[in-house]
């Protein structure tokens, strides 16, 4: 398998838009064996920090080569564990402002349990295992490294 085929596109510059998500969904209308779609979207929160400053966005960086390898393994494990028709994972790089989407996980299956459980499984593994770091940007321009969660 070539690197190209093995590693599906994951990282997108800036936020993942509702239109991008709608397009991803619409592409599955032609797959007539699909009965269920499950989606997870991570949205950047305007958390208030100890000093009262509000988060205005998160700047993401990744160790892309290693993250793609990790995601490939997570994807393989999910396909082995759940009876899925399709699986898509997108993560932002660079600045994502408060209220915008930075993570989009999308699973599809014939029966609903597989899509629902696989989506949950993927989100938890991505959060724990993928080489991505977020830096919260505060109102003043100061930055705080996001804590794992």
């Amino acid at each position: 398998m070539t690197e190209e085929k093995k590693h599906k596109k994951v990282f997108v510059e800036g936020p993942i838009t509702p239109i991008f998500i709608a397009d991803s969904l619409a592409k599955h209308a032609a797959k007539h064996n699909i009965g269920a779609h499950s989606m997870f979207m991570g949205q950047v929160r305007a958390d208030v920090k100890e000093d009262g400053q509000v988060v205005t966005g998160i700047e993401y960086e990744a160790y892309q080569e290693m993250a793609m390898e990790t995601l490939h393994q997570i994807r393989e494990d999910a396909f082995a564990k759940y009876s899925l028709t399709c699986m898509h994972i997108y993560h932002s790089l660079g600045l994502v402002k408060t209220g915008d989407i930075s993570l989009f996980v999308f699973t599809s299956s014939v029966q609903r349990r597989a899509a629902i459980e696989a989506c949950d499984y993927l989100v938890e593994r991505i959060k724990r295992e993928v080489q991505v770091w977020g830096k919260e940007i505060l109102e003043s321009g100061e930055t705080v490294w996001k804590r794992p969660g």
């Binding site: 991570g42 160790y63 991505v132």
Partner: protein, 75 residues
């Protein structure tokens, strides 16, 4: 020579996301950086060699890529 990649807070503290060293193993890399930037001793981070996580001290060869990675915080 080996390329050392630094991510997140580590890159910030060390003033660069990329150093080139000529050292024999991963412990030496960590020691060298801790000497120059003592603040990183307080951080927990994982080490990867050529995109594979290593948990013990690992010998390095010319051209290896070493990554020092704080806890991931994507999503």
């Amino acid at each position: 020579m080996m390329n050392v990649l630094l991510f997140g807070r580590l890159a910030e503290i060390c003033g660069s996301n990329n150093y080139t060293f000529d050292l024999k193993d991963t412990d030496s890399v960590c020691d060298k950086l801790s000497e120059d930037f003592p603040e990183i001793k307080r951080l927990s981070f994982a080490v990867a060699v050529n995109q594979k996580l290593v948990v013990q001290n690992t010998e390095l060869n010319d051209g290896d890529e070493v990554a020092l990675m704080p806890p991931y915080s994507g999503g």
